[in-house]
């Protein structure tokens, strides 16, 4: 499902989500969110190139979308869990309310009705009085305080996303694996993983293949190995 929303038009990840949900004519719910997860991810690549400074904000929401998506696919794997803070759908509903309200504010602002105050006091003092708290010491302290605020913040350590392997590459390698056999163990697949990212990518690749109905998997007991079988 390709979308033609323009990246420049998004204020942030919530704005993007809101527009994706609107475009699908869905009302805001966790189900709606998991439906637009893929579209959301398709924007992350473009974002990394065009607006890298905002990537972190988008990744936070991306992580929560993955959580929602995997939750909806594997409900039994998530026992009743107390969620920390408001859910993403609730957060989005709240955000939407303020976006709506901002239209009213914009209207008031655009009308340009200004309530003017008095600018000149009717009486002016003739003699000079030094304010009680102005001393050479207080001036010095205030300057030192200001400088501490101007002190450049240390640059955040830079790190890049681990691009060791993409979901697409992993899917290809799983397809290859299934050419040589009808079935393989998920545990074995993970044993060759180089890092955590690859473990996550492998899992997402399997989910994707299940969704495409290319494979199915079996698990006899909870926490046991998964057997992945070609369809």
């Amino acid at each position: 499902m390709l979308t033609d929303l323009k990246l420049e038009k998004f204020e942030g990840p919530l704005d993007l989500l809101l527009q994706l949900v609107d475009q699908e004519k869905l009302s805001i719910s966790e189900i709606a969110l998991s439906k637009v997860t893929e579209q959301f991810f398709s924007y992350l690549d473009k974002l990394e190139k065009n607006r890298p400074e905002e990537l972190a904000d988008f990744l936070v929401v991306a992580a929560r979308l993955i959580y929602l998506k995997s939750h909806s696919l594997l409900q039994y794997a998530y026992p009743e869990e107390e969620e920390a803070g408001p859910g993403l759908a609730d957060q989005l509903k709240l955000y939407k309310q303020y976006v709506e309200a901002s239209k009213t504010i914009n209207g008031l602002w655009a009308v340009g009705k200004v309530a003017y105050g008095r600018t000149e006091p009717p009486i002016k003092s003739k003699e000079f009085v030094l304010p009680a708290n102005v001393t050479t010491n207080s001036l010095y302290n205030s300057m030192v305080f200001l400088l501490s605020r101007l002190q450049p913040t240390e640059a955040l350590p830079k790190t890049t996303i681990d691009h060791s392997i993409s979901i697409k590459q992993k899917i290809d390698s799983i397809r290859n694996l299934l050419k040589s056999g009808q079935e393989f163990s998920f545990k074995n697949l993970l044993s060759s993983a180089q890092n955590k990212t690859e473990v996550i990518v492998s899992f997402l690749a399997i989910l994707e293949l299940v969704k495409q109905q290319s494979v199915r998997f079996r698990q006899v007991n909870a926490f046991e190995d998964l057997l992945v079988t070609k369809n």
Binding site: E11, V60, P86, L108, P121
Partner: protein
Amino acid sequence: MSNKSKIESILFVASKPLSAKKIAAVVKINDKEAVELLKDLQTNYNNADSGIAILNNGGEWQMVASADNQEVSENFLKSEVSGELTRPQLETLTVVSYCGPITKPELDQIRGVNCSLILRNLMLRGLVKENEDSANLLPAYEITMDYLRHLGLNSLQDLPNYSELHKHPYITKLDKEE
């Protein structure tokens, strides 16, 4: 003369927003009495056909010419240009208007993006200010009287759905978490 009339005189001569505390000190009454009288004056002035209004924003009060009469007022004053608001500025101002005083983490959470730059920008334009209450560790942001004057509102409570959007459960929840 009554304390109410004294407050009326003070609001009239002042050329900037005044805190109720300050007014109370000058009239020599307690803060609560001052607020009562200010509200009383507000009721007298803020009616449909008044040429003067009393604005109230986060503990500060100011007497102004009615926003509806902006055109004639500008004959006697340098007209203040409001300028356009960009979409991020507008969105941030909206959240600060409805939820202020609000801390930056709360604001970031509601908008889903880091608002540091926008806040700085809005402060430079004199539309938002840092709350000076140093009791809190994190500074809180609120809108300025100048912003209120440019919206032509007497107080933020006049915004549509104010009470509903002001005390939203998630915001108070965030408060506790921080």
